[in-house]
């Protein structure tokens, strides 16, 4: 949690005076982002969803988080845990966060650098989506890949033709969370 940001928020004279001054506009945005992310964090802690977790990085920057999801049961990812990074833009939630798989993953819609192809993280982003929605969407993407527009064409093909071989690739690529960084 970033307490310095909180102090900024408390000491600001008031929102509309700040917005009138061009120089203060940035601070106003930061307040909005901070408030929103704090509220999301609170929600995640008060009502956690099974199989997902997320928390701001320890460096005190509320704009970058680390999250985990567990693979859904009855999918090739069952029992595996994946680590992800969230990087929030300054105008969050009016632009989507950048989300990357930090754990190597073999999946049709994720490339080898961990970049994800998911519409809600791009042009279908809505300001009411949040970390929790995104993680739940990613969790379901694991079991239901979108093979129409794959980033990993081989994975897309194997998913449709040879589930056993697919699972071998998944397990071969996976690393335990403790082994990352």
């Amino acid at each position: 949690m970033d307490y310095t940001m909180e102090d900024t928020q408390n000491s600001a004279p008031n929102a509309h005076e700040a917005s009138k001054l061009g120089a203060s506009a940035q601070r106003n945005d930061t307040q909005g982002v901070t408030k929103r992310l704090q509220s999301e964090l609170m929600q995640l802690m008060v009502s956690p969803s099974p199989g997902i977790s997320a928390f701001p990085d320890a460096d005190g920057n509320l704009l970058s988080w680390t999250a985990t999801i567990t693979g859904p049961s009855e999918t090739p990812y069952e029992g595996l845990t994946f680590k992800l990074s969230f990087s929030f833009p300054n105008n969050y939630p009016y632009s989507p966060p950048t989300v990357l798989f930090k754990t190597p993953i073999y999946h049709p819609n994720v490339d080898f650098s961990g970049r994800i192809c998911l519409d809600i993280l791009r042009d279908k982003w809505s300001a009411v989506y949040n970390v929790q929605n995104v993680l739940l969407s990613l969790q379901s993407l694991l079991g239901e890949p979108n093979n129409a527009s794959p980033l990993n064409a081989q994975a897309a093909e194997l998913w449709d033709t040879d589930q056993d071989e697919y699972k071998r690739h998944v397990l071969a690529r996976h690393r335990d969370i403790e082994d990352i960084e």
């Binding site: 106003n28 279908k124 809505s126």
Partner: protein, 480 residues
């Protein structure tokens, strides 16, 4: 991206790029709009990058994919503020001066009927922003504290819609807060007696704030549509829930006709404001095509949107007519259209002897008369508002045949039945008791108070009437 990095690497024979340099190369491996090159500031390096040392085919499919995606996501820097100050509509006319003649004619006419406009930034939110801004601007222009408070209460009460469709309060509250902040500032400005709406323009030009307000309006619209699916589903090519998720609740999807109707129905209409779209296109006609999205009401303000394909701006009519929209044609109401007026509500004291005069108070310069429809079945119908937009200055006086002077009431076989319901006349001569609306100070300047003078003997307008015949005095006939 640093240009020096590229220089350092451009002779690297092994084609080992850092990810960010790959991006430059990638732009050249795909057919891209030239703007993308300019934006990344590298065209001057193109010759260096095209040297044979680079093997374009070395890029893996996923790298290509990524470059394609980068080019797809490219957004040009748009100039101008999110919401401009009011400016002359002449600027729009100048923009189209050399365009298709249909545009030139229509924009010139528009500059007369709607002399001011407000330009919205075309960033994918312009329609939403125009309606939201127009809504708050009207509230400020009313200078009515009670109404502003009432609207605030109403908008906040719409939170129940959000709850009903499962939006989470901890997520939507920041959007509601932003809207409430606008109300607070409007109330404050009214209390201080401010006339200048700059504070509102500033509020909407703070992008974060502006986005929050627009998101609030988007969510309310989405919730309203989901709760009233029967009104919208038939107009959609996809399930309503999917439409709302991908077109309404998103952060930068332009509003379409169905969404705009949902926004007006769910959020704006209960305020009493009229929402009207003026379409600027190459359709036939000399003026923009008007479409009113909500039932028009007199006395209240209106949000007027200028629509050009893919873009919305705000328009402002000629000032004196501001509170007259839609224009009620008093002449026609007096002469015939009693049934729709409700004589009990409007204490019009109609003098039957005045009724007998054809074209009483007909004022062709008012710009209405020749626009009246003349269906034979109902020649007295009050002009619907979409036919009002005739540019009075540019249009030549209408030929007398088009003046709606069908059957002068005197030729009717009998008086309209409703006449008998009117109170009996005194015989003291003509009396006109004015409509109570005339007493409203803010209306007095906009009523056609000069109309009675058109009946003066000095007015020569009657010469234009087809049925006009000069009276010849015959000395043999005695006066009646």
């Amino acid at each position: 991206m640093s240009l020096s990095d590229i220089h350092r690497n451009q002779f690297d024979p092994l084609n080992h790029f850092h990810p960010r340099e790959e991006l430059v190369l990638g732009f050249y491996s795909q057919p891209l709009p030239s703007a993308a090159f300019v934006n990344h500031g590298v065209p001057q390096l193109s010759s260096a990058l095209y040297t044979p040392a680079y093997n374009m085919n070395a890029l893996s499919p996923e790298e290509m994919e990524r470059y394609q995606e980068l080019s797809n996501k490219f957004e040009p820097e748009l100039p101008g503020p999110l919401v401009s100050h009011k400016q002359s509509t002449d600027a729009i006319a100048v923009e189209y001066a050399n365009a298709d003649p249909a545009f030139a004619t229509k924009t010139n006419a528009l500059a007369v009927t709607h002399p001011q406009s407000r330009i919205m930034k075309g960033d994918g939110n312009c329609g939403w922003r125009a309606v939201a801004f127009g809504y708050f601007e009207n509230l400020f222009n009313f200078r009515d504290l009670i109404q502003a408070q009432r609207e605030l209460v109403r908008i906040k009460s719409l939170n129940t819609l959000l709850d009903q469709v499962g939006q989470q309060e901890h997520l939507y509250e920041i959007f509601v807060d932003a809207t409430e902040e606008v109300f607070g500032q409007i109330v404050g400005a009214i209390e201080r007696g401010e006339r200048d709406d700059s504070f509102l323009v500033d509020l909407f030009n703070d992008e974060y704030n502006s986005n929050a307000i627009i998101t609030h309006f988007r969510l309310l619209t989405s919730a309203w549509m989901k709760l009233n699916p029967h009104r919208y589903q038939a107009f959609l090519s996809m399930p309503l829930d999917q439409y709302c998720a991908t077109r309404i609740e998103t952060v930068k999807t332009e509003i379409d006709e169905v969404g705009l109707q949902g926004l007006v129905d769910g959020v704006i209409e209960a305020s009493g404001l009229t929402v009207e779209i003026l379409y600027l296109d190459r359709s036939e006609g000399e003026v923009v095509t008007s479409h009113v999205l909500s039932p028009p009401r007199t006395g209240l303000g209106a949000i007027r949107l200028l629509y050009r394909p893919g873009h919305y701006d705000l328009l402002y009519q000629v000032e004196p007519a501001l509170n007259m929209q839609p224009v009620v044609n008093f002449q026609y109401a007096m002469s015939s259209d009693y049934s729709s007026w409700g004589t009990n509500e409007l204490a019009f004291d109609v003098n039957s002897s005045l009724m007998a005069i054809p074209n009483l108070m007909m004022d062709t310069s008012f710009g209405l008369a020749h626009a009246l429809p003349q269906p034979p079945s109902d020649p007295y119908r009050v002009s619907p508002p979409q036919e009002v937009y005739q540019p009075p200055v540019h249009t030549p006086p209408p030929p007398p045949t088009t003046i709606a002077s069908p059957q002068p009431p005197i030729r009717l076989t009998g008086p309209p039945p409703i006449m008998s319901a009117l109170p009996p006349r005194s015989n003291d001569g003509p009396q006109i008791r004015l409509n109570p609306l005339v007493m409203k100070p803010n209306l007095s300047h906009s009523l056609p108070v000069t109309a009675p003078f058109k009946n003066s003997p000095y007015n020569q307008a009657h010469f234009q009437n087809q049925d006009f015949e000069p009276i010849h005095w015959e000395p043999h006939e005695s006066r009646k």
